[in-house]
């Protein structure tokens, strides 16, 4: 295949999640947990200490019956680039360099063996994408067999989060190198949630590559920190200039409004 897109240049892996298609079934969460050895406790009903790298939020328009509307919004780590590449809210604050912004891929990684659990990154992240291991993970007897060897199991006292299945990128790159290639095809590296979603609501790829679907849907504007040019596409908390790499698509106006704070220039104040 001929590449005209993004050869030899840094990649900016990102997602567009189609909220019109998302049904809130939660398969993405399950696929993520299975892929990434996310632990589970007997009681996971306290969502404030329940590790879900990808969490599906339920949004409502707040209107009474029968005008109530609901939309589901899956929220993985947003892999923020910040005002300048690498100035993610969390990466900039970690005292022990246990979380890192990969300039090759734009992925924010978490080094589990280095994190000492100060949780400053959690305080910094407005998306609540980071989770602390309040408990030492325990797998019921036998279930540890299902653990994925490509992702290390974490231990108590450290922070973890979505990695855009970075191990899949590494595997794909290894394979490409073995075959003498330096570039990946679009479908060679896909996250577990993207792959599992029965609705096909998640599109994943290189935002810098005009050939990739994510680029085509989101149409990021490099001059404006990656702001989408597609009017139906938006990012969460655009005004904070976190410059996230997860884009959302919705045709419902109230969803668009609920997802990002009105900008000063819009002269809007209150909403929803």
């Amino acid at each position: 295949m001929k590449h005209t897109g993004n050869i030899g240049k840094p990649k900016r892996y990102g997602m567009v999640i189609d909220l019109d298609k998302c049904t809130g079934c939660g398969t993405c969460m399950v696929a993520c947990m299975a892929e990434n050895n996310v632990p589970f406790k007997k009681d996971e009903s306290n969502k404030l200490d329940s590790i879900t790298w990808l969490r599906v939020y339920r949004l409502t328009n707040g209107k009474p019956y029968p005008d109530n509307e609901v939309c589901y919004l899956p929220r993985p780590c947003q892999h923020c680039a910040g005002k300048h590449e690498g100035h993610s809210p969390c990466v900039s604050v970690c005292p022990a360099t246990a979380t890192d912004y990969d300039q090759e891929t734009g992925i924010v990684s978490q080094i589990y063996t280095r994190c000492f659990g100060c949780r400053y990154c959690m305080a910094a992240c407005p998306y609540h994408a980071r989770y602390f291991n309040w408990w030492d993970p325990v797998w019921p007897k036998g279930m540890e067999k299902a653990l994925n060897p490509n992702v290390s199991a974490r231990m108590r006292g450290i922070v973890e989060k979505c990695s855009f299945c970075f191990h899949r990128y590494q595997k794909a790159m290894e394979k490409a190198h073995m075959e003498g290639r330096r570039e990946l095809e679009e479908d060679e590296y896909q996250t577990a949630c993207t792959q599992a979603c029965p609705a096909g609501a998640i599109t994943f790829g290189d935002l810098n590559n005009p050939e990739h679907k994510v680029h085509q849907i989101a149409q990021p504007d490099p001059a404006k920190g990656g702001r989408p040019r597609n009017p139906k596409v938006f990012r969460l908390l655009e005004e904070l200039e976190t410059n996230p790499k997860v884009y959302y698509l919705s045709s419902r106006e109230w969803v668009q409004e609920a997802c990002h704070k009105p900008h000063l220039l819009d002269q809007k104040t209150a909403h929803h």
Binding site: Y65, P66, A146, A153, P198
Partner: protein, 741 residues
């Protein structure tokens, strides 16, 4: 030696400096660093060769085509199979959690027999020989006594070689009592039989429909094939098809639809007839189909026009007249409109009248056996086997009426009515059961009015379960012959979820059985051999795989090669050939039925005037409510507005809650004629006032600490209501009250 202050000081300082100069502190520091980075008890999964195997996951009702990733001999991931015709790369949340079902501690590790009281959980391990001979002995005695009809079997699957083998076993044995857990397909099958004259199954060409009118079907919440329906929903979005959802609760389906039309529960059929009224009155129906290919239209027309004017219907359903008229016009004018029924996941069939009323809409617009329409399809058959041999004893047994009354004079078109079994057992009429086989079904949990089923099961002296996991019904069994888990066995899975092409998926063993289990097919073959005579002759195969291969006949080679078989070119019969009714036409008159009686809505039980609310069950795509209990991953993704600790939340409209003095999170006692339970209140603007909504699938008493005792079982509070016309369970919910705890 006297140690003075000076020498003590010198010693301690010297010692400290000396130690610091040795490698010891650095070694300790290093070890500590390593230790703190990987505690010895933190699992460190071994790497190994990666392999990917296709199979079909049977955990969900529809069956997901999956690719299983193995590392060495461990299953580590289950992903949707890219080229599988239904889910097409996606997967449902339950099948994606399949590793936990395979490796989980609730697996039954080997054959066991009950040693304590029933349900007490006291078991003794026995060998397979012992277990099988126990069953053979019991069955032999019953047959000897000339009562083969008193042996029954309950399966969650109606089709496929294992279901057929169970049925064949009973037939050869002499029992007519092969039963299947109820579903909306029972009502659809009956509708098909009585309106089309076809003994078949419904197929829905969903992707090509451009206007979908759903009467409470949880289209993206487990109705039909879960992953395929969610995929279809995305296709609808891309093609800008319209979906209108009619139900009292803002389900996910309603939330994703183009319009949510709240309707008083139980009046969906009335609304369908109201829509039919407008279509007929405004002559919006398909003249060609109605005039040339249908019969009984006059009867239908007069039944509809006499009682279902929009004004009348609006009063009963709570839907505006103008909405009814709009829906009717939109539906009739759409290119490929489709009306669907089966509430939620379709676990309760609903009455025949409801199914007929909804299907009549499809017929009125002529969207029958056409692209984007509803198709009459042949049933999947295991047709490679010779007919079973029947001895006199078998023939005598088979001549007896069925226990559930299906096929009797009262319910001639019913194939099975498991909802009628509890009463039959309670009264001992027509006869008591001596033995029951339970295959991949958990009726003690998942049947409405579960308490009655539990009582009924107490009347059965010998219950044999083939469960792989220790569910509620297995807990109440006398003997468990554990089946291989879904990733350990061969099996064929014909699609019966409404897919519009004949299709069979092949379940293939991905791993060697990790427990001392046996394929139920093999267990049946060995039992038949032990019973000897015509039983053995009817089931002559060496093993289940041979029997599977023979049964699938010509389709086997493609199945073996591709992992599935599909008839891509299948097209339903054209109208002129499609209806093998006496008239050769589609029958709006439902084979001469009293339409007025047929369309009368089901009355909820126990109306003694003390209940001011209506309780409706709802199905969540995140909570399996059938034979499979939620694995830990699925329990984890249940919302905290549904389950908090072990407390279950019921949804109540804020207005209703306010009137009763409830605020968010309050504890309350939910009471119905069947019983009461303590719940918590969740205020929802997505529920019609006057209702309480409860999720199905929680409140397990079996399984482990990851699932057991969480929430309450809706089936303990909601029972079944027998539809006079069909015998099917027509319950939409029940009357209830909610008072402060």
């Amino acid at each position: 030696m006297k140690i003075d202050r000076r020498s003590f000081l010198a010693l301690s300082v010297g010692g400290t400096v000396g130690t610091a100069l040795t490698p010891l502190p650095w070694k300790i520091q290093d070890d500590l660093a390593i230790w703190t980075q990987m505690w010895p008890w933190t699992p460190d999964p071994l790497d190994g060769e990666n392999t990917f195997t296709h199979t079909v996951s049977t955990l969900c009702r529809g069956g997901c085509g999956v690719t299983v990733r193995k590392v060495g001999d461990r299953v580590v991931k289950i992903e949707g199979r890219e080229d599988y015709p239904t889910n097409q790369g996606g997967v449902c949340n339950l099948c994606a959690s399949g590793m936990q079902m395979l490796y989980g501690p609730t697996r039954i590790p080997h054959p066991i027999k009950r040693v304590g009281d029933r349900g007490a959980g006291q078991w003794a391990r026995i060998s397979w020989e012992e277990a099988l001979s126990m069953v053979a002995e019991q069955l032999g005695e019953i047959r000897q006594a000339g009562q083969p009809e008193t042996v029954a079997c309950l399966s969650s699957r109606k089709y496929g070689s294992v279901a057929e083998l169970l049925k064949r076993f009973l037939t050869a044995y002499g029992s007519p009592n092969f039963m299947v857990t109820p579903s909306m397909m029972d009502a659809y099958d009956m509708t098909l039989k009585r309106m089309h004259g076809v003994d078949g199954r419904m197929g829905f060409d969903l992707e090509n429909a451009d206007y979908v009118l759903s009467f409470g079907s949880g289209l993206i919440e487990g109705w039909g094939n879960t992953a395929y329906m969610i995929h279809t929903n995305s296709v609808w979005k891309e093609r800008k098809a319209t979906v209108k959802q009619i139900e009292p609760r803002l389900s996910n389906t309603a939330a994703k639809s183009d319009q949510w039309i709240p309707v008083t529960p139980g009046t969906e059929a009335i609304l369908a007839l109201g829509i039919a009224y407008v279509i007929i009155k405004e002559s919006l129906y398909d003249y060609d189909f109605v005039n040339n290919f249908s019969t009984g239209f006059e009867e239908f027309r007069s039944a509809v026009l006499s009682g279902y004017s929009p004004g009348n219907v609006a009063k009963q359903t709570g839907v505006d007249q103008s909405t009814i008229v709009t829906l009717a016009r939109e539906f009739a004018r759409a290119r490929r409109p489709m009306a669907l029924c089966g509430r939620g996941q379709g676990t309760v069939p609903g009455g025949l009248g409801e199914s007929v009323a909804v299907h009549a809409l499809n017929a009125l617009v002529g969207n029958i056996n056409r692209p984007g329409g509803v198709w009459a399809m042949p049933r999947p058959a295991v047709d490679g086997w010779a007919a079973p041999a029947l001895d006199a004893s078998a023939q005598a047994g088979l001549a007896k009426p069925r226990l559930d009354g299906a096929g009797s004079a009262a319910f001639p078109f019913a194939e099975q009515l498991f909802n009628r079994v509890p009463e039959a057992l309670a009264t001992g009429s027509p006869y008591p059961l001596k033995a029951l086989f339970v295959y991949e079904a958990n009726p003690l949990f998942s049947t409405p009015g579960a308490a009655k089923v539990r009582e009924a099961f107490d009347q059965i002296p010998f219950i044999v379960s083939f469960a792989s996991h220790m569910d509620e019904t297995a807990m109440a069994a006398d003997l468990i012959l554990p089946n291989h888990a879904h990733l350990e066995r061969w099996e064929d899975v014909p699609d019966t979820s409404g897919f519009h092409q004949p299709m069979i998926g092949l379940v293939q063993p991905v791993v060697e059985p990790i427990r001392d289990t046996m394929h139920t097919g093999d267990a049946l073959l060995r039992l038949a051999a032990a019973l000897g005579g015509t039983m053995a002759a009817s089931m002559p195969w060496e093993n289940y795989k041979a029997c599977l291969q023979e049964g699938l006949a010509s389709r086997w080679s493609q199945l073996e090669a591709d992992g599935f078989w599909i008839d891509n070119r299948y097209r339903p019969d054209t109208w002129s050939l499609a209806f093998p009714t006496p008239s050769g036409k589609f029958d709006f008159g439902v084979a001469g039925s009293d339409l007025k009686a047929l369309f009368a809505p089901a009355q909820p039980e126990g109306d003694d005037g003390s209940y001011n609310l209506k309780l409706i069950p709802y199905d969540s795509v995140r909570i399996p409510n059938g034979p499979v209990g939620s694995p830990p991953f699925l329990v984890k993704i249940v919302s905290d507005t549904v389950l908090k600790g072990n407390d279950l939340f019921v949804e109540v409209n804020p207005e209703t809650a306010k009137a009763a003095g409830f605020v968010e999170g309050d504890h309350a006692v939910l009471k119905t004629p069947l019983g009461s339970a303590t719940v918590r209140v969740h205020l929802s603007d997505g529920l019609m006032p006057g209702l309480v909504a409860i999720p199905r699938g929680l409140g397990h008493t079996a399984f482990d600490g990851y699932l057991a005792e969480k929430g309450i079982n809706a089936n303990d509070l909601i029972g079944s209501v027998e539809d006079a016309a069909s015998g099917l369970d027509a319950a939409w919910g029940i009357l209830a009250s909610l008072v402060k705890a």
